[in-house]
Amino acid sequence: MTAREPTARAVERPPRDADHWARYVETLEVSDVPEGAVNLNVEGRRVVGPLQGFGKMWQKTYRVRLEGVDTSSAEVVRVWKERFPEFWAPGNRFFVPSVGLSPGGVALINGDMPGSRWFSTGIMVLYADEDSFTYITPEGHPFSGWITFSAHNEDDGPLVAQAQLLIRANDPLYELLMPLGIHRLENTTWQRTLENLAAHFGASGEVETRVVCVDPKRRWSRYGNIRHNAIILSALHAVARRLRRLRARPAR
C-alpha cells in the first residue's frame, strides 16, 4: 500500500512506432498549395482532438466486408491512401499534399456545407502504418477529433475495411447543425467511401454503421471555439472577395 520507488528508466531507443506518428507542431503549416485549392482555415491553426471540442462525443464506425477479395489488409490500406480523393464522396475536394498521406502531411479540403458554398478546411495525417492511417482535424473544422481508416482480417472471415471516428462538434454552431444535417452528411460520406473502396476491389458488401455517444456532455467552456468556425470564416472570405472584385471593377 505504499508508492513504489521510482525505477531507473531503460535507455531510450526509438520505439517501433516512432516513424508512424506525426511530429509535434504548435500550428499547422501548408507547405504547398495544389493548383485550384483554397488554403483557408488551416495555416496557423492548432490541431484539436476529441477533448478540445464542444459537443457530445461520438464514436462512429463504418465497416464493409470485402467478400471474396484475395489480397492483404496492407494492400487495401495502401490503395485507400493512394486513391483517397477518388473514393471520397462527391461534393468535396480533397487535396493530397505532395508528400502523400504520410505522418505530418497536411491536406486541404474544399467543398460544400450547409450555409456555405466555399467551405475550406483541412486535416493533418496523425498516424500511418501499413494497416491503418489516422487524420486529426484543425481548429474550425466541423469536428474536433480524429478518424482512423484501417483494414484487417476477421477470424475465419473476409477482409474488413473500416473507418472509425472519435469526434465532437467543434463549437455550438456545428453542434446545432449536427442533427440538422451534419450527422447525415457524415454518415453518407463514409458509407459511400467504403462502397467505392469495396467496388474498387470487386466487392459489393453492405456498409455497417454503428454510432455510439461516448460522452453525452457538452463542454460549455469551449463555446469560444466558434471564433475559428470554418463555415463562418469561409463565408466572410467569399463576401470579402466579392467586394474586392466590385471595387476593382473600373467605373463606367
Binding site: 521510482p6 480524429w146 482512423t148 454503421t209 455517444c213
Partner: protein, 151 residues
C-alpha cells in the same frame, strides 16, 4: 448491426439509455474477438484513494478489454485517482490513444482523476500532438504522480 443508428432528441432519457447500452454492447462484442492483445496491466493500490495500473506491452485496439478490466479493478472502493504507469509501454497506435480518451471519459464520469508517469519523450510528444496532455497529467515518477493526486 446498428446498436444505435441515426439522430435522437438531444438529452432525452431514451437516447442516453441507448448510448450507454450501445457502449456496453460494443465493449462486450470487442472482448469476444480480441485474441491479439499484446499487453498486460497489473493493478496496485498505493493508498486508499489512489490505484496504479502498470501497463506493459502494446496499447492498440486489442487492449480495450484488458484496460477496462484493469480500470474496473483499480476503481474499486473509494478510489479518486487512477495513475497509469507507462514505463513498460512498448508500442502505441492511434487506436490506443483513442482508448485513453474513452478511459478518461469514464474516469471523469466517476469524478476521478487520471494521471500518468513513465512516458518516454516519444510518447510525451504523442500526448502533446493529440492534446491529451490538456486533460491527463504527465509526471516523471510514481512518487510525483501520487503526490499530485492530493494537490
Amino acid at each position: 448491426m446498428s446498436a444505435y443508428d441515426g439522430e435522437e432528441l438531444p438529452g432525452s432519457l431514451h437516447a442516453m439509455r441507448a448510448d450507454f447500452e450501445g457502449v456496453r454492447e460494443m465493449t462486450r462484442e470487442r472482448r469476444e474477438d480480441m485474441p491479439q492483445a499484446q499487453v498486460t496491466m497489473d493493478v496496485r493500490k498505493v493508498s486508499d484513494d489512489v490505484s496504479v495500473i502498470d501497463v506493459k506491452g502494446e496499447l492498440t485496439a486489442f487492449a480495450e478489454g484488458v484496460l477496462m478490466d484493469a480500470y474496473n479493478q483499480a476503481s474499486d472502493g473509494r478510489v479518486r485517482a487512477i495513475v497509469l504507469n507507462f514505463e513498460g509501454l512498448e508500442y502505441m497506435n492511434s487506436s490506443g490513444i483513442g482508448l485513453l480518451v474513452t478511459l478518461l471519459i469514464r474516469v471523469n464520469r466517476e469524478k476521478q482523476r487520471l494521471l500518468t508517469y513513465g512516458l518516454t519523450e516519444h510518447y510525451r510528444n504523442i500526448f502533446q500532438i493529440t492534446r491529451l496532455d490538456d486533460a491527463i497529467g504527465m509526471y516523471d515518477s510514481e512518487e510525483e504522480a501520487v503526490r499530485a493526486t492530493s494537490a
